[in-house]
Point group: C2
Chain length 132, copies 2
DNA sequence: ATTAATGATACCATAATTGTATCATTTGTC
DNA sequence: GACAAATGATACAATTATGGTATCATTAAT
């Protein structure tokens, strides 16, 4: 049970690194080296971030990636959603069987409450807040 | 990202059911029928609960399972731990690379905070509280 | 023209979770 | 005592999610 998967993790580290470069272009090979992360995998991740409008890419020699938005406008929930899908904690519990006694709904309520809290907390974290 | 896996889910439903029977013996086949859950899988789950002292089993014809403790003394975190292992939310983030800039530690702090909250909430739920 | 980069995409590997099968043992019932 | 109905133990299979690799096409600087 982890809140953040490896892909998200790598993505965040990469974004932090890129953010430090303030508009300069960073290539995958450089990043992979610095972060000590498998390059092809990182590449796939950056491509996804590009596709989702978090990064901007430049092709050709000397190309690479830069941030597409200010760090203050990149929320870690955005990143999580890209790599982990919708953020829900109560995926499976009692969904088909429509809660035969509705007692167990107390559990669902609790979990929904937890979910709300978790999302609120996570939504308070931007890339900027991770930078220093 | 789910807080509760299917095994835990099944286990909780089964425990609720068994708890209602107040000391009577419930067999896997009966339970599987009532809960509409694959029987061999449910069986494995109940065996685990027995092994962990949550249920007591009786072999032989007319055998089955009963609760080994009062519902008030069975915490859903106990059950989660049995099927999902240690309850941690910040498994993978920045553990090997020992936080090169310690900036990202803010994330870790946040997640640790979330984890504490989640555990506190979950620890307030017993089987009894799920019963009505 | 060459080289160093990304785009797109298909494929593979690993691990966790979910689920099945089987043989041995126990116990109630006839 | 034989039989049937239950669990104990355990190995195996299937499915899914995640992590990771490979490759060919395209772009752009030198």
């Amino acid at each position: 049970m982890k809140l953040i998967t490896r892909s998200t993790d790598y993505a965040l580290r990469a974004l932090c690194f890129i953010a430090k470069y303030k508009g300069k272009i960073v290539s995958v090979s450089e990043l992979a080296l610095k972060l000590r992360v498998p390059q092809p995998f990182l590449r796939k991740i950056l491509q996804a971030l590009n596709g989702k409008g978090i990064l901007t890419s430049l092709k050709g020699q000397g190309g690479g990636f830069t941030l597409a938005k200010e760090p203050a406008k990149i929320f870690i929930t955005d990143i999580m959603r890209i790599f982990q899908g919708t953020l829900r904690l109560n995926e499976c519990f009692l969904q088909k069987l429509a809660c035969p006694h509705k007692k167990t709904c107390l559990l669902r309520k609790k979990i929904t409450g937890i979910e709300r809290y978790v999302l609120r907390e996570l939504n308070s974290i931007t890339l900027e807040s991770l930078l220093e």
